[in-house]
């Protein structure tokens, strides 16, 4: 008898196969069948998958539903955009402005000197650090304030959602410092390398894929450790975890910070590939969309979350090209269908329905004995 239960081993093996399939699709299949315009679109979808993986950790496994992940995605994206904007705003490029050398939107808003918090973002190492550190720090403060006081469940979801809304209002309202509703646009080069060319888009796409795979393995490592089991235990019986001598709040803070750091990386890759960042990716609607991507794919499965993000976005693009006004209804319907009919998402359908049927003639299905569906999160 081994110490690790066999169904866990099999699930881990299954997960690795899922990882390999995703790697195959995003690294080989998509680049070989799509033109650069479509590939770049998929690159954008992949940046949402960073957030979805974070939601698998903090929502699927720990039971903390954050409806404000767009906030952290946006912070990462804005940190990257600020660096790129400063590089694009050299004195030579901006000599027609009344104050040359500052971003154009600042000039339009009668700002005559670079605000102090923009200054360090002139350095690429600092900007990359900020992409991870700013979302992590904010979620640490938020987590420390709320989890230590045992605020959780619906209250936490509402607070995160409100914060995402606050951030949008702040960005729009302070347009001299943030670029306002239009966001930070007209980004050109990264250390002199033009990111708008097709070749740069290819490179950035593959960088995004590799970072995503790295994020998937990080999430897998965390979930496979004892910490991962403690997270599930916290979701099931928080009181018992506390009564076993663990400081539950610290675990929640950790996983929430990790999820936010992942979201920040996704945001930075978004800015690089799409070429701008705006408040429309920060607020309530994008934050809820991110939750839907994760839920459709399966909120307990890393592979499911990535696949769900790609599929929903692909469907969104196809659907909204044909019937632009109907997409939001389709999205809402999809979410209701997931919650009511298949709470474990596509990953659940795969492991509970499809694989057991294949089980009679493959060894894979053995691992996929159906388990009762968990109750939907509050």
């Amino acid at each position: 008898m081994s110490a690790v239960p066999s169904f866990r081993l099999d699930n881990r093996r299954l997960e690795l196969i899922g990882f390999a399939l995703i790697a195959l699709v995003i690294l080989v299949l998509l680049p070989s069948v799509l033109d650069i315009f479509r590939l770049n679109l998929f690159g954008k979808y992949l940046t949402y998958a960073f957030v979805a993986i974070g939601l698998v950790l903090c929502w699927g496994h720990t039971g903390i539903l954050s409806l404000g992940q767009g906030l952290f995605f946006g912070l990462g994206g804005y940190a990257m955009a600020a660096f790129l904007k400063l590089e694009a705003s050299s004195v030579a490029n901006t000599k027609i402005q009344s104050t040359p050398g500052i971003p154009d939107f600042m000039d339009w808003n009668q700002i005559t000197a670079l605000p102090f918090f923009w200054v360090p973002l002139k350095s690429l190492p600092f900007a990359l650090f900020a992409v991870i550190a700013v979302p992590t720090l904010l979620s640490f403060i938020l987590g420390a304030a709320l989890f230590k006081r045992r605020v959780g469940g619906v209250y936490f979801a509402i607070i995160t959602q409100a914060l995402a809304a606050v951030m949008t209002i702040l960005i729009v309202g302070q347009q001299g410092y943030t670029g306002g509703i239009n966001g930070i646009t007209d980004l050109r080069t990264l250390l002199g390398w033009d990111i708008r060319t097709d070749s740069a888009k290819y490179v950035l796409y593959f960088v995004c894929c590799l970072l995503l795979l790295g994020t998937m393995f990080t999430a897998r490592f965390v979930l496979a450790s004892k910490l991962g089991r403690i997270l599930v235990a916290v979701r099931d019986k928080e009181d018992r975890v506390r009564s076993s001598g663990y400081d539950v709040a610290n675990y929640k803070i950790f996983i929430f910070c990790l999820a936010s750091a992942m979201a920040g990386i996704g945001g930075a890759m978004f800015t690089l590939q799409v070429g701008f960042m705006s408040p429309s990716f920060v607020g309530i609607v994008p934050s809820i969309e991110l939750v839907i991507f994760c839920a459709v794919g399966g909120r307990q499965s890393i592979v499911g979350a990535v696949a769900g993000t790609l599929l929903v976005n692909w469907a969104k693009t196809l659907f909204s090209e044909a019937f632009p006004e109907l997409w939001l209804f389709a999205m809402g319907g999809l979410f209701i269908a997931v919650v009511v009919a298949f709470p474990r998402g596509l990953a659940g359908i795969m492991t509970d329905q499809i694989l057991p049927r294949l089980g009679s003639w493959t060894t894979l299905g053995r691992s996929a004995e159906p388990r009762p569906a968990p109750t939907p999160a509050e």
């Binding site: 965390v222 004892k226 910490l227 019986k237 506390r242 663990y246």
Partner: protein
């Protein structure tokens, strides 16, 4: 200020009120090293609240709780656990989505901070420790089962096992045989007798037959106060106890 005592656990003048209702009211309770204490009393007498107060889940309004002569009323729950007080909840409180092995493993009192948990290694000692406890709680052959598939009685045992693996000096059990079959009760009584050899135990129980089979000393609670205390015989013959509790 409460006095220092030779007791493992000393509650003196402890009170707590919820919205003006005094659930526990001027309670004094002393538990000795190696003692098995049973607390009985009618519903709403404040028995479970006393356990909540000891383990820090509810804060006291007045009074002192000392564990090994250290005031613990201001400590956090996890700190109290780490100093050696374990508590079993009234309904089986286990991690349904994890296996029996994983339930027990998480209760091993090491690697309790975030980094320790991330870098945790399942060493042969851990596996041995888990197997040993699993054998005591009659779940030796069930280690790989998801805990949600266990029977009610087995879940109760699993929770007791999760406490045993913490090796607390004081173990508090809230209705450990509730919902168990007759055979399971007998096994649990035997298990408890085994457990108390090395530690002090507080048990809350309604089942009088079960109480008789295990008790050293019995405390009867009524309306947040101690109504009577003594061995089983004395308590059973106490007219006040008969009136509020046993007479029913």
């Amino acid at each position: 200020m409460a006095s220092n005592t030779d007791f493992l656990l000393a509650l003196e003048g402890v009170a707590v009120s919820f919205d003006g209702f005094r659930a526990v009211d001027g309670l004094n309770l002393y538990v000795d090293y190696g003692e098995l204490r049973v607390i009985i009393g009618p519903n709403g007498a404040g028995k479970t609240t006393v356990l909540d107060l000891i383990c820090g889940r509810t804060r006291t309004s007045e009074g002192s709780i000392k564990f090994k002569n250290q005031e613990i009323t201001a400590w956090k729950e996890q700190e109290i656990v780490r100093r050696g007080i374990g508590r079993k909840f009234q309904t089986p409180t286990i991690y349904e989505d994890l296996t029996v092995f994983e339930n027990l493993e998480l209760s091993v009192p090491r690697g309790r901070d975030v980094f320790g948990a991330l870098m945790w290694k399942r060493t042969p000692e851990v596996i041995e420790q888990v197997r040993e406890v699993a054998k005591m709680i009659f779940l030796r052959d069930q280690l790989e089962r998801p805990a949600e598939t266990l029977s009610h009685g087995q879940k109760q045992w699993l929770e007791i096992g999760m406490l045993l693996i913490q090796d607390p000096e004081l173990l508090m059990l809230d209705e450990p045989v509730a919902g168990m079959s007759v055979a399971e009760r007998a096994k649990t009584a035997a298990l408890l007798k085994e457990i108390i050899k090395n530690r002090s135990v507080i048990v809350i129980e309604h089942d009088m037959q079960f109480v008789e089979s295990i008790a050293h000393r019995v405390t009867v609670m009524h309306q947040g106060k101690v109504l009577a205390e003594g061995d089983m015989q004395t308590v059973q013959n106490n007219p006040k106890v008969k009136e509020v509790y046993l007479g029913h």
